[in-house]
């Protein structure tokens, strides 16, 4: 039997997948999506210190750790659904911990930029219909979001822009990526100099090319002028940007300057800008806390109310500063993805893990609680990279508890312990 599935791998959240339940095989999805919908090793059972226990026992132990901590860190949330994330916020508020999510090592600088300048964006559908110029800046969808180009950007067939021929594709990056090989124009920037390139483009577009030096960030002035003209002459342009801006020198300021460029371009024509969000619901991991407590990430509840200081409450900083004494890690693997200085702290404190798969965090976790896979074994709401809500589906049965159920029970236990 073939059923429709919504892919729960990357931020593109392709909703046209097919899944053969008997054969346990997907169709139409990319390499990443196919891996998501294939059989893999699972965490077999809840565990405490390596010993198999029941869900109830593991949850009771987890509750005890959280309640006894002076400041627990509750981190992850990018590969789970909004319903679970909401419970996560409620749990964090109860145990007065720190909520942080995968964006803090991904697109969190984008949030800082949005705080400075806002986000002039459009949905992926709007971009596919209208964008005659698409710029990929510091992102490489061919590896990170493989169907993005086909569905929404490079070769998508839209209402006004009918096909690839009608669209100009530009890649700006520090290296010639697979995406760059598909582009009509490739602009190579010196690592760490995107910020200056945006300032130069703004000056050129506003008619101040005279002050711009002959070369900026490794890009010749002629090339900059060509890029500026192309952008200005677009009918409707879209910039997609990635970790090339947020994880390199300049971080949030790179994005802020990109947004300022887009603001300026809208005085002449239409342009939008969108971050290429990584995990399928990393967007929800920020949106849900925003409506529940006002901020997207790096939220501390130690005083009984939410506060946002990313310089100290983002997970990497909390760990590096030694500012937590327990951690709950859900739907994420910080031991694999954090700098080693932060991993060191995770090895020292009690760690609770909730995840479908064994990973490096499992290796340091004291309490391990296996969970169902959303999109396959459990349903819920996720947000695509353009903040469009899509319901991910349950297509097969499982004995594993969903994150939502685990968190519900955990909250009950915490309530009991706290009286």
């Amino acid at each position: 039997m073939e059923v429709n599935v919504v892919c729960t791998f990357c931020g593109s959240v392709c909703d046209d997948g097919l899944f053969d339940v008997e054969k346990f095989r997907s169709k139409r999805l990319c390499k990443l999506g196919s891996s998501k919908f294939s059989k893999k090793e699972r965490i077999k059972s809840p565990m405490i210190d390596g010993k198999e226990v029941s869900y109830e026992e593991a949850i009771a132990k987890a509750a005890e750790i959280l309640v006894n901590a002076k400041r627990p860190l509750l981190y992850g949330w990018a590969s789970t659904v909004n319903e679970a994330i909401r419970l996560g916020i409620i749990l964090t508020e109860k145990v007065r911990g720190v909520y942080d999510q995968c964006a803090s090592v991904c697109h969190a600088p984008s949030i800082l930029a949005v705080i400075e300048e806002g986000l002039p964006a459009g949905t992926l559908g709007c971009i596919k219909n209208r964008a005659d110029v698409v710029v990929f800046w510091g992102c490489n969808p061919m590896e990170a979001h493989p169907r993005h180009g086909m569905r929404y950007s490079i070769s998508a067939k839209g209402l006004l822009v009918k096909d690839r021929k009608a669209r100009k594709v530009i890649v700006v990056d520090v290296r010639e990526t697979r995406t760059a090989r598909q582009a009509d124009m490739f602009v190579q920037v010196k690592p760490g100099y995107d910020y200056l390139v945006f300032s130069a483009l703004r000056a050129i577009i506003a008619g101040n090319a005279d002050v711009v030096p002959d070369e900026v960030g490794g890009v010749s002035k002629d090339k900059l002028i060509e890029l500026a003209e192309t952008m200005k002459n677009a009918k409707y342009g879209a910039v997609f940007y990635g970790l090339g801006l947020t994880q390199s020198r300049g971080r949030d300021r790179n994005v802020e300057n990109a947004i300022k460029l887009i603001q300026l371009l809208n005085r002449y024509t239409r342009w939008v800008i969108l971050p290429m969000r990584g995990h399928y619901n990393v967007t929800g991991a920020g949106e849900v806390p925003a409506w529940e407590c006002g901020y997207q990430y790096a939220i501390d509840f130690s005083r009984g109310y939410p506060r946002f200081y990313p310089n100290e409450f983002s997970a990497v900083e909390v760990l590096k500063r030694g500012d937590c004494d327990a951690a709950l890690i859900i739907a994420s693997d910080p031991v694999a993805h954090f700098p080693k200085e932060a991993v060191k702290k995770l090895k020292e404190i009690p760690v609770i893990q909730i995840d479908p798969f064994p990973n490096m965090t499992t290796l340091v976790a004291n309490v391990v609680i296996p969970s169902a896979i959303y999109g396959l074994e459990a349903e819920g709401t996720a947000y695509r990279m353009d903040v469009i809500p899509i319901r991910v589906k349950k297509v097969i049965d499982t004995e594993y508890w969903s994150d939502e159920k685990i968190l519900e029970e955990l909250i009950k236990k915490v309530d009991e312990l706290m009286g």
Binding site: K70, R71, Y195, L196, R253, S302, E312, G322
Partner: protein, 234 residues
């Protein structure tokens, strides 16, 4: 004068919004002053040895305060001397008085400060004299002197006052600055993005955004915001 010394190694950070005003209270009141220790709200005496000597509006912090945040938050007068390092938000929103940090200071030193003086003998981390996220104005008055180095984001959206750094600084100096003065004796990274006004003097090397005009006086810009800020060699 009030002398505080940590009693324990802090498991997590402490948030202690203490100002010199506290030194004028009686000892019993001081002991009961509330600070945050993780999720616990505890009395000052639980975490610190407290010694009171006379009524001078002065606090001396002895020992390691690098995990103690919000020292001197909103202080208006008097003096705080930190004998070692201090945690983030030291002197933030400060209106007057003086803070001397003999060691290093963490992030948000003198954030949104409007008056008074901060002297750091060691290094300062990031976000010196900056506005908190979303606020339109950073430092508006007073002086911050850092004898060592500073990190990224110095004097962002600054609208008055002075920041002087004897050593080097990181990226984003005077971003969106409107008024006031930043002096860096050493080198720094990106300078002047979207600067509207004010003055930045730099002794060493720096990387100016490519949207400044070269004039006899120095660099003037940022032209992207029709700015009239000036960046000069010291």
């Amino acid at each position: 004068m009030l002398i505080l010394k940590p009693k324990v190694d802090f498991v997590v950070c402490v948030e202690a919004e203490i100002t010199p005003e506290l030194a004028t209270k009686d000892l019993e009141e001081i002991k009961k002053f509330k600070v945050y220790y993780g999720k616990e709200e505890v009395e000052l005496e639980k975490l610190f040895e407290i010694t009171k000597q006379g009524n001078e509006k002065k606090i001396v912090l002895e020992g390691d305060f690098s995990k103690v945040k919000w020292i001197g938050y909103r202080m208006e007068d008097g003096e705080i001397v930190v004998k070692g390092n201090v945690g983030s938000h030291c002197g933030s929103c400060m209106k007057g008085g003086r803070i001397v940090v003999e060691g290093n200071a963490d992030d948000w030193l003198g954030a949104e400060m409007s008056g008074g003086e901060i002297i750091v003998k060691g290094n300062a981390a990031n976000l010196v004299g900056c506005p908190y996220h979303g606020d339109l104005t950073g430092m508006t008055g007073g002086k911050i002197l850092i004898e060592g180095n500073a990190g990224n984001y110095v004097g962002e959206r600054m609208n008055g006052g002075e920041i002087e750094i004897k050593g080097n600084a990181g990226d984003f100096i005077g971003t969106e600055m409107r008024n006031g003065k930043i002096v860096i004796h050493g080198s720094c990274g990106f300078v002047g993005g979207d600067m509207r006004g004010g003055e930045i003097l730099i002794g060493g090397d720096f990387e100016i955004v490519p949207s400044f005009k070269r004039t006899d006086e120095g660099w003037v810009g940022d032209v992207n915001v029709k700015g009239e800020g000036i960046i000069k060699k010291l």
